[in-house]
């Protein structure tokens, strides 16, 4: 249906081709994932399909792209985009109208369809959003906004749907919800769907084909199973196959068919025996000193009608020296609010927060900053200077710290920012931005560091690096608190997990116990790492949180293996 024949493209004045001699065919009714590192040309490829290239971004375009046999060269953005819908990664900026219904009728109205209202309503119905029609877009949650963006794209009844990294901005529960919708659109409405996706676990569960891009060209396009089985090639390109695939690969690298989904893995490991292991030996907590303490804290925000919606209810919580706390819970559970209450960006309505026994009621955020560093979810909002180095030294400089040069230099080195230090934070890549934001926080030499979603929207390779970096925090701070959706991070980093649900602490436990307790996971709508699910599937108890741990718990049964391979 979509046919690329030797397509190349480069931006005006640029030397390098962003797309190089791309020839590929996407057939009707495909569900294809596009993978590849940064700068592989994934977005550019997709923008050729909806005509933004070459009609909007004028540049050197060579070759031929056709949809349904129609040459795109004889078309324009308007007619191409009514066939091809596009949902951006920063979908927030895609929503341009105040209310939901306005938003979904926007495209059909612009293209002059008489039945624009019906079209919009139909799109809302398709995604079960009808009840939101009269809401203001800004009042919706992130997941809802993404669906509205999708509905807006669907209102033109396109044949092709392109979605750019949907999971990056959504929490895992919403990501699953979104993919379920996509699955429905694909199977029921027969849409051809293309997703740019890093998360191979989603690819394995939902996509049919995988297309790998590298440096502007299409390396290959294979069925999903075959694609994810190329473990070595993928890891080399910093794409990480699903955890179950990795586990199986480490177990038997030469196996012909590695499992890619949980289900397959269950069967694949069926004939393995499991080592028993008692509950892990927990060190009886030494005398830890309490640093931050919440005492009966209530917090809520005002709505338009000046009513107060409670966010945090009667919170009692102690953060002690040596703690690595992960705050988990679904959106709106109050994770970020707790961080803000500690750093003083917001004040409790009732109750009090104490720092080493002293009330923080009358302490300004500026003063608290001398002990507490708060690192935002969105690093871009932390860059207030025109270069990284100035951002790092800002805190020290306004305080005339005698050793500001020294500390700044040390931090720059520690975070490997030597090359980037004179660049503006906003112009860095996602991973570099995170690194810089962490550096900014630690240059404040805090005792407590608060991090909001430090691994959000990072690709998996960068995320791994980030987790490793967070592991080294202990050497410089007394306690660290991370609010996160990333269960991988919880599993590998935290020593203590505080589970929140609607503003209340429903559990204060260890990662091990959290992941062993499926009931708790469900109640807080958390999505466990795949390897943990596999443990549940294979009845490994207590669960293992890492692939290595998992591999240590299973054993290959010689006799069973033979019949296993016969079955295959």
């Amino acid at each position: 249906m979509i046919l690329f024949e030797n397509v190349s493209f480069r931006y005006p004045g640029a030397e390098e081709w962003v797309l190089k001699d791309v020839s590929v065919e996407i057939k009707k009714h495909e569900f294809t994932a596009i993978i590849g590192g940064n700068g592989a040309g994934k977005s550019t490829f997709c923008k050729v399909i909806n005509g933004l290239i070459p009609y909007y971004y004028v540049g050197d375009f060579e070759g031929k792209m056709s949809i349904n046999g129609e040459d795109a060269a004889a078309s324009n953005v308007a007619s191409l985009s009514s066939k091809v819908a596009y949902v951006y990664q920063d979908f927030e900026n895609q929503l341009v109208r105040p209310k939901v219904l306005d938003e979904v009728i926007f495209s059909p109205l612009n293209y002059g369809y008489k039945d624009y209202i019906e079209r919009g309503k139909r799109a809302l119905e398709l995604l079960d959003l009808t009840h939101l029609a009269d809401e203001y877009v800004w009042q919706l949650s992130g997941g809802q906004k993404h669906l509205v963006a999708l509905a807006g794209a669907l209102a033109l009844t396109p044949e092709v749907l392109i979605i750019d990294e949907p999971v990056a901005q959504l929490d895992p529960a919403h990501a699953i919800q979104l993919y379920e919708k996509l699955k429905y659109l694909h199977s029921e409405l027969g849409l051809t769907i293309l997703v740019i996706e890093h998360h191979t676990e989603f690819i394995a569960n939902y996509c049919k084909d995988v297309m790998l891009m590298e440096k502007g060209s299409v390396k290959w396009k294979k069925p999903v199973k075959e694609a994810l089985n190329s473990v070595e090639e993928l890891t080399e390109k910093h794409i990480h196959p699903p955890q179950v695939t990795m586990a199986a690969f480490h177990e038997r690298p030469l196996s012909e068919q590695l499992p890619v989904t949980l289900e397959e893995a269950g069967r694949w490991f069926e004939n393995y025996t499991i080592h028993e292991k008692g509950m892990p030996f927990t060190v009886s907590p030494e005398k830890q000193q309490s640093i931050v303490e919440f005492n009966g804290v209530h917090y809520g925000y005002k709505t338009l009608s000046r009513k107060i919606v409670p966010v945090i209810k009667d919170l009692q919580l102690q953060i002690k020296t040596g703690d690595r706390i992960a705050l988990v819970g679904s959106n709106g559970a109050g994770k970020s609010t707790i961080l803000k209450l500690i750093s003083g960006l917001i004040k409790p309505l009732q109750g009090d927060v104490f720092y080493k026994g002293d009330s923080l009621k009358k302490v300004s955020p500026e003063k608290r900053a001398e002990k507490i560093a708060h690192i935002y979810q969105n690093p871009e909002e932390m860059f207030i200077e025109d270069e990284i180095r100035k951002d790092i030294s800002f805190f020290l400089k306004v305080r005339n710290h005698p050793a500001q040069e020294e500390i700044t230099n040390r931090i720059v080195q520690q975070f490997n920012l030597e090359v980037l230090k004179h660049r503006d934070g906003r112009l860095l890549s996602g991973g570099q931005q995170r690194r810089a934001s962490l550096a900014i926080g630690l240059a404040m030499q805090p005792e407590v560091v608060l991090l909001d979603e430090p691994t959000a929207s990072l690709d998996i390779a960068t995320r791994k690096k980030m987790i490793a970096m967070l592991g080294e925090l202990d050497s410089s701070v007394k306690a660290a608190v991370i609010a996160t959706h990333d269960m991988q991070l919880v599993a590998e980093w935290a020593t203590r997990v505080v589970v929140l649900n609607r503003g209340e602490v429903i559990a204060d436990t260890t990662p091990q116990e959290l992941f062993s307790n499926q009931f708790l996971l469900r109640e807080a709508s958390l999505v466990e790492p795949q390897i943990v699910s596999l443990c549940h599937e294979l009845k490994i108890h207590p669960v293992e949180l890492t692939i290595d741990g998992f591999l240590r718990r299973i054993k290959w049964e010689e006799s069973a293996s033979e019949c296993f391979s016969k079955v295959l």
Partner: protein, 274 residues
């Protein structure tokens, strides 16, 4: 507690934000909202000009009262109307004092009364119409009246983006506060604090400008894909979209009653000039 302390204690960004949002999104339906916005715009224009064409005080009193009643009808609270009039008067207070001082006479006091009423009439008329008009409707009306499509887009885009922009600005301000340092002493009349905050407000626009630029690029690209530029070139969509703007019998009633009352005011004014 001094006024300043009160001000700073209330100046949590959260509170300001919610007040802003309330004014922007908390519209309630009013009687005037049912009318055709184009007609209302025309009406305001006329009422912004009429008062300046006469010096007859009876007419001016009549016009002020009429617009005050209309403002009241469109649910502007009486208190706000009162405050508005006080505000208009105080605008001229310094002028009156200065003139009395320089001119050594009280005539200015009387001379200023008509101009006060003129300004009040215009303000009340504007208030009556625009408190009840949804910004979207207003922009549709302008579009229909031939104002470029970009303006009407600007209105709804602002309507949409306002909360996001405020949120982002708030976060950047927070960033400054989380790393900055309050002046050790408040200074004379809290001037050091004021200076600290104002400097922060200005410097926060540096990151804000860059972040908004990034955002803008996606938005404009999206507008292209979603056919906005296509509409600007064609009139199909405009016609479909603005189809709902129709003069109804209520509009004619409104015009009729308005004309009648205005005429009455003029007749009375010429008969009994003050």
């Amino acid at each position: 507690m001094s006024v300043f302390q009160k001000f700073f204690s209330k100046l949590t960004v959260e509170n300001i934000k919610i007040e802003l949002m309330r004014t922007a999104y908390g519209n309630e339906p009013t009687p005037l909202a049912k009318l055709d916005p184009r007609m209302l715009i025309l009406w305001v224009l006329i009422y912004s000009i009429i008062p300046w064409l006469t010096h007859n005080q009876t007419i001016l009193i009549g016009l002020t009262l009429f617009t005050a009643v209309l403002a009241y009808m469109s649910r502007v609270s009486p208190l706000l109307i009162f405050l508005l009039i006080v505000g208009v008067i105080s605008q001229f207070t310094y002028l009156v004092f200065a003139a009395m001082f320089l001119g050594n006479s009280f005539t200015v006091l009387i001379a200023v009364i008509p101009v006060t009423m003129k300004v009040a009439t215009v303000s009340l008329a504007t208030m009556a119409v625009f408190t009840s008009m949804d910004p979207e409707k207003f922009s549709d009306a302008l579009l229909k009246l031939g104002v470029p499509g970009k303006f009407s887009f600007g209105v709804s885009y602002g309507y949409r983006m306002l909360p996001i922009l405020i949120e982002e600005y708030q976060n950047i301000i927070h960033s400054f506060r989380l790393r900055g340092k309050l002046p050790a002493k408040p200074g004379f009349l809290y001037s050091r604090y004021v200076f600290y905050y104002i400097k922060m407000c200005i410097m926060a626009f540096y990151p804000m400008m860059l972040n908004t630029a990034k955002r803008t690029r996606t938005t404009v690209e999206v507008l292209e894909v979603r056919g906005f530029s296509y509409t600007l070139e064609n009139n199909i969509a405009k016609d479909i979209k603005l189809n709902y703007l129709k003069m109804t019998k209520y509009d004619y009633y409104f015009i009729g009653i308005s004309t009648l009352i205005t005429a009455l005011i003029y007749i009375v004014g010429y008969q009994f000039p003050l």
